[in-house]
Symmetry: C2
Subunit: 340 residues, 2 copies
């Protein structure tokens, strides 16, 4: 098997008997080339197995056809499946995806942003809206096209494709309250640099405020892992006034709690009710099925890709797609019952 030197535009040009300019046109704008020449060029490209050199192209055109996404972690299925959907749409548009993960840490996110941009990303997908001023300034100053997912704001300075975390959390809390629960506990992800967690807590508080008989016994925070969530449950149980319902801001946390409860021989929902947030597979699989908030993960990924794509490719035919608010819904399963 022998090794072939990568052909360049010039080689193709020679073979096809045209100038390099024509080849370039033929590749980027086929209509600008006469039919017969196009065919000749095509076949030359194929016999040589020519593939444009990325660097050369990027340098000359100042575009890379690459988009970066920075998500907290692919280990959380909710982001993995959003990312999958995102990637599929990009792929159809012949754009490739660069991936970075922040591990829920704003400073890591900033590093990844720089890294992906220095790799030439034409645009960026970011999760949530809460980031340090430094990061925001950077994005603005360099005029980086970007869209925010997993959140929604009407702030016109930046497009977002997502849902209202606060409203959604309020909705599920109201739902819990409507089942007669008056002593609630919250287990949330670490709030630092995580607007989803913060907003969801606020939403739950909103609901409680409107129902004077109801109160929040405690607000725990933990990482998105089963064991950390289990530890949070232990802390709650050590309180005098045990809650009749625990509202978790993530399915991973809720499931972690359920696993721990099982170890402790507590019965859900008899001993306490519990709700999650995200509706990942786990919520459906755990027993009893987890009552949770369904987040349109895939739709969000797809729409974010589309918005980003025409942010980058200012297509004047299509009306500029602004921020989009998607809706969440409550999925009733078996972890929430009436308080008696």
């Amino acid at each position: 098997m022998h090794l072939i030197k990568r052909p360049k535009l010039e080689d193709v040009a020679k073979l096809a008997g045209v100038s390099t300019a024509s080849i370039s046109r033929c590749i980027n704008n086929p209509k600008k080339v006469a039919e017969p020449t196009r065919l000749r060029i095509q076949s030359a490209i194929e016999t040589l197995e020519y593939m444009p050199h990325f660097g050369g192209r990027a340098l000359a055109s100042n575009r890379t056809n690459t988009i970066g996404a920075i998500i907290p972690s692919m280990d959380n299925a909710v982001f993995a499946s959003g990312l999958q959907a995102f990637q599929e749409v990009l792929s159809h548009a012949r754009v490739t995806l660069l991936v970075g993960s922040s591990n829920y840490d704003p400073s890591q996110e900033f590093e990844q942003i720089q890294s992906l941009l220095s790799q030439g990303a034409d645009g960026l997908l970011l999760i949530g809206q809460d980031r340090p001023q430094k990061t925001q300034d950077f994005l603005r100053k360099h005029a980086i096209p970007h869209v925010l997912a997993w959140c929604f704001s009407t702030d016109i300075s930046c497009s977002s494709v997502g849902f209202d975390n606060r409203k959604s959390a309020k909705k599920i809390a109201e739902h819990v309250i409507s089942y007669g629960h008056q002593k609630l506990a919250i287990i949330a992800g670490l709030k630092a640099g995580n607007d989803r967690a913060k907003e969801r807590i606020l939403g739950i508080k909103d609901a409680v405020k409107e129902n004077s008989d109801t109160k929040i016994v405690t607000i725990e925070q933990c990482k998105y892992s089963f064991t950390e969530a289990g530890a949070a449950l232990d802390r709650i149980l050590s309180f005098h006034k045990s809650p009749s319902a625990i509202i978790c801001t993530s399915d991973v946390i809720a499931v972690g709690v359920m696993l721990r409860a099982k170890e402790l021989n507590l019965r859900i929902p008899n001993d306490f009710s519990i709700t999650g947030f995200d509706d990942i597979n786990l919520a459906q699989v755990v027993t009893p099925g987890l009552t949770t908030v369904r987040v349109p993960q895939q739709e969000m990924g797809q729409k974010a890709a589309k918005v980003l794509l025409d942010l980058i490719n200012p297509n004047l035919d299509v009306p500029k797609s602004p921020s989009q608010e998607l809706m969440t819904t409550i999925v009733e399963r078996d972890t929430l019952i009436k308080f008696q």
Copy 2:
């Protein structure tokens, strides 16, 4: 807020009062520059917020510091978590990750390979070893550094970091058989272009061959989704000779079967035993807990990254890391009991 034109090497050079070459050295090989100049350059870079242009760099050096990974789908947690680990290691080495997904389809994989390479990937992570000749020729002809994960072969022509699917499957099958099960069913992923599924089936057959009382009642194939797996169970149940144990080649499939069984009011493991493969979160969460094969997902991702990294960066100090075989283990939970 105003928009600043991207500074180039020349701008930095002017500010620091040195040549562009020195800046370039300072960035790529700091030791080759005298301390005082280095400091001057550093500060110039910072005040200008200079970021090297990717295209220019790629063109001149013919390296991109980018690695591509093509996985079947991030929707399957087993790949998502492997990818997460892979990305983290790359990130430490200041290499960025390009991601493509093949949706378990060899021709999509080929497209993605081309796409990632044309985006300049210096190397590639691929899943499994079974791919069309066309793809293999392509990789060889262009001398693409790549490593195969999720499989292991001693074939020296290509590094792999993974485990022996056949042996692992044989092991779990033997385990099932040792519990007294004689009528087995298999539910596997679609075999086409999926060596993991094929090998695992072979491994199970190996075990059966060595136990003359045992036989395989049927081999079903389905996509990696709960509903498809449920349908496969329905097919099995319509047979005369119902198996006492169902061996699934993936946790997703096993859980899908369990969900369907619950709908049908069948009791696992009383009505039949079942085993999975992968040990993703789901296996732990489902009730009863799924007995399965633990695949070292994270370790595989990390090691694959390391191998790929020094495949690309021929570091002569370190002995060239060849293929690595990792071990799987059986995780005993509650879906496998003795046949009575």
